[in-house]
Symmetry: C2
Subunit: 440 residues, 2 copies
């Protein structure tokens, strides 16, 4: 449904790994052999999916052996009544998406990197993305996992059951653990029925307060058919225009909002949506808007939002922050930073999954500069911590953010995380130097 | 929205605890003191919420000290834009429900025991219930927990953020762990907006195949407004009539289905529902049906389904099974058992959350009999294991089912569970003899 993005190398410009060995197993058994071998010999391993992660989690820091899921791309089964898909971890998200859509279902997860990222990588990072608002977290939609543990043991929790309360839910340990507790080799995921009607509205708002009020109005009036509520500021639009030559489809505004509805009755949905648009245009919450109902126009509107990452990476060096914040303070940080940085930054932009309280804050500059970094950090993290926000809403910690965990989690939590790591990976061979803070 | 049930003592007839001490702390600090004290002295503890659990998890086996959340019933905060509710673990589900409904939201969880069960107990058992089909698992809707660990450490993961990928998601360890890994003292949960239109249809189906086809039709035609799909067989209806004097609202049929819709547009929903009813009545999938749109009638119809547990307990001794099974084989087990037991059982009934593949299979007899038990077990578990089902879909394992875990989980999973238990509760003071199998 959304546009493919171009190669993402620039995003990862700061992390060039130096591994001499890249292994591409085809089966869980092969992964088990590799880990058993590495475990015996104390060799460190970096699991790698599509390598689209934002925090340097899948690239080796020193000489870790890369275990890539690139060849583990088989669909195991799909049940066309229940919508349960079982597949190997290396299946590319977009391919899974196509596969289940042909059968009347959708993958409950969608993101700009879909053309490259693997479902195993998505699960390992607990990816959020564009459908989170509607279908919720992978913690609810992933039904089962097969995981190879550090010592090569295959842990089969690959159930396809919607409900299973027999003991502790072990798969949760591996969702979002970024390859530090085990290698995910297969995934069972519940796909919801494909909505028969999809609409996208792209709106211009005069201020952030109006963006928030538009969100509240929208949730009330569109209710259960609302499937995405994304926002971007005028700076984002400028960059998307400048670097990708995408035209703004509405009057220039300080803020833009993309609303998607997905429902089972085209007529009903259109009626709800037009009632909503009348309301927000009439009350001045929205100054201009456009509506798309056909695939091509829908893709075009989504591209504006999805290709921001790409536009940013063409603008220069990018400092990236992915934060959860209380809605009413969400944009204040962007304004604060803009004032704080003045001419030291090229652009300070804010966009993201507003419906989930998730801000992507990005700062571009001609080149990396330690002094700019010093102005940004720990300022951004301290600001976020004061709002009791999260310093990593969906991207995880990986290598780049592992030392900021303490801004969002208390010491008792950190200690328990370290105990879990020691339990599951006593030799520390799984993705070392990632996720957990450097011990001091 | 649903009817209250009467006291549930008969359900727990087989487990009468023998504790001499019952503590009712008011704060997390008090819970921490209790656990610190018990931990130092190797005293075992049984956490207890509303005591409505089905598997004897909250009653002491020997001399465990009961730590009840009965007095921890304060609401901490409610945010009326985001719908995030933060409260102490001892809040009664129905009271929370009333509180948030007055503010335009609903708790994403509802079950027959709502008048007595505590939110902490719900989280500790990872309860499923009647809204699971619509709002999904507590693993997605619970945003944060505060937990007191075995040694009295307070673990504060009580975030209110929709998304937070800073490290391992520790709260997941405690969801569904039935008080064996920590005592939940506070819960943060995301409440969805209250749907403005609710309808309930109660239908009679000529056979189980028709029940399944009705489900598929319904999912296709009602889509995102479908909020519950429950079924019960003719035996259930008989018992509800016999013991509770509730009248069947439609023509007598082999099976009954209760469908609830919840949406934001009354007119649209009614239209979708009547289109669906026309379709299923016209095609013979449904032989008779009734529709309720007002609160009183809706409650009346829900009572038929929700009070089955109560009717069963008045029928005699009840053997209870709570299974996840593939939809197409779900009812075969009930038929098989009926044939197998013949006159040895009073009644063999099947009902449950069909939309989630969850069968409640219950057998009643005049009194407990080891020979009847021997005919039922391990037959039921083996049957379920052959279908790769779950021997406990939503009720958990507690004391009664802990030794059947192996029918649904491989030895590697069991071992990791035991390691987690040893890590979090090295002295084994938290709800001993529960959830994990007796070591042999
Ligand atoms: C344009 C763009 C848009 C994006 N949009 C979003 C978004 O909306 N929401 C979001 O959450 N993220 C987003 N991301 C980030 C990224 O795409 C996701 O984190 C994605 O889930 C990573 O998948 P991957 O296969 O590329 O994993 P990789 O980058 O290869 O790996 C990510 C981490 O997971 C580990 N890992 C990978 N595979 C496995 C495995 N099989 N077993 C164990 N560990 C493994 C790696 O070691 C690493 O720590 C975006 C990225 C880009 C470039
Ligand atoms: C009529 C009826 C209908 C039901 N319907 C459903 C249904 O639809 N779906 C469903 O899933 N269940 C259902 N149940 C089962 C039961 O209601 C649920 O399991 C409920 O969530 C238990 O809550 P409680 O507060 O009564 O917990 P309790 O019974 O007191 O305890 C249950 C378990 O949780 C532990 N526990 C309780 N509180 C805490 C805490 N604060 N911290 C740590 N551990 C704790 C206990 O030690 C015990 O192991 C039903 C029960 C009845 C009687």
């Amino acid at each position: 449904m959304h546009l493919e993005t171009s190669p993402l190398v620039p995003v990862l410009r700061t992390d060039s790994g130096s591994s001499k060995v890249l292994l591409r197993p085809r089966t869980s058994q092969e992964v088990a052999h590799i880990l058993r071998y590495c475990h015996e010999r104390n060799l460190a391993v970096s699991p790698q999916g599509g390598n689209t992660g934002m925090v340097g989690g899948s690239t080796p820091v020193f000489d870790e052996i890369i275990v890539s899921t690139a060849l583990m791309n088989q669909i195991v089964s799909f049940h066309n009544v229940s919508g349960v898909l079982v597949c190997q971890a290396g299946c590319v998200l977009e391919e899974l998406s196509r596969y289940v859509e042909e059968r009347g279902f959708v993958v409950p997860l969608d993101l700009g990197a879909k053309g490259s990222c693997h479902i195993g990588g998505n699960v390992a990072t607990n990816a959020g993305g564009l459908r989170f608002l509607r279908y919720g977290s992978l913690r609810g939609t992933v039904l089962g996992l097969e995981v190879v543990l550090a010592d090569g043991t295959i842990l089969n929790c690959l159930t396809s059951l919607r409900k299973d309360n027999t003991g502790y839910d072990l798969k949760q340990l591996f969702i979002g653990s970024e390859g530090t507790l085990g290698v995910i080799t297969a995934v069972s995921i519940l796909c919801p029925p494909k909505p028969s009607a999809v609409n996208v509205a792209f709106l211009g708002c005069p201020g952030f307060a109006e963006v928030l009020q538009t969100f509240c109005t929208c949730r009330g009036m569109l209710g259960e058919i609302l499937s995405a509520f994304e926002f971007m500021d005028a700076e984002c639009m400028k960059l998307v225009g400048l670097h990708l030559h995408l035209a703004c489809p509405v009057q220039e505004s300080p803020f833009y909002v993309l609303i998607e509805t997905s429902g089972s009755g085209a007529g009903h949905d259109a009626e709800k949506l037009s009632g909503f648009l009348e309301q927000v245009l009439g009350s001045g919450l929205v100054t201009d808007g456009t509506l798309a109902t056909d695939q091509r126009r829908i893709k075009m509107l989504w591209a504006l939002r999805e290709r921001i990452t790409e536009a940013l990476s063409r603008d220069g060096y990018v400092y990236k922050y992915d934060l959860s914040l209380p809605l009413d303070r969400l944009y204040d940080l962007v304004s604060d930073l803009r004032a704080r940085l003045g001419l030291h930054a090229k652009h300070v932009v804010g966009y993201g999954h507003l419906g989930d309280g998730n801000l992507h804050l990005n700062v571009t500059a001609e080149a990396f500069s330690p002094s700019l970094l010093g102005t940004l950090e720990p300022y951004v993290y301290e600001w976020t911590a004061r709002q009791r926000g999260s310093v990593s809403a969906e991207h995880g910690l990986g290598f780049k953010k592992k030392d900021v965990l303490g801004y969002s989690k208390p010491p008792e939590a950190l200690q328990l995380m370290q105990q879990l790591k020691a339990l599951l990976d006593p030799k520390g061979i799984l993705n070392p130097y990632k996720t957990l803070p450097t011990r001091t």
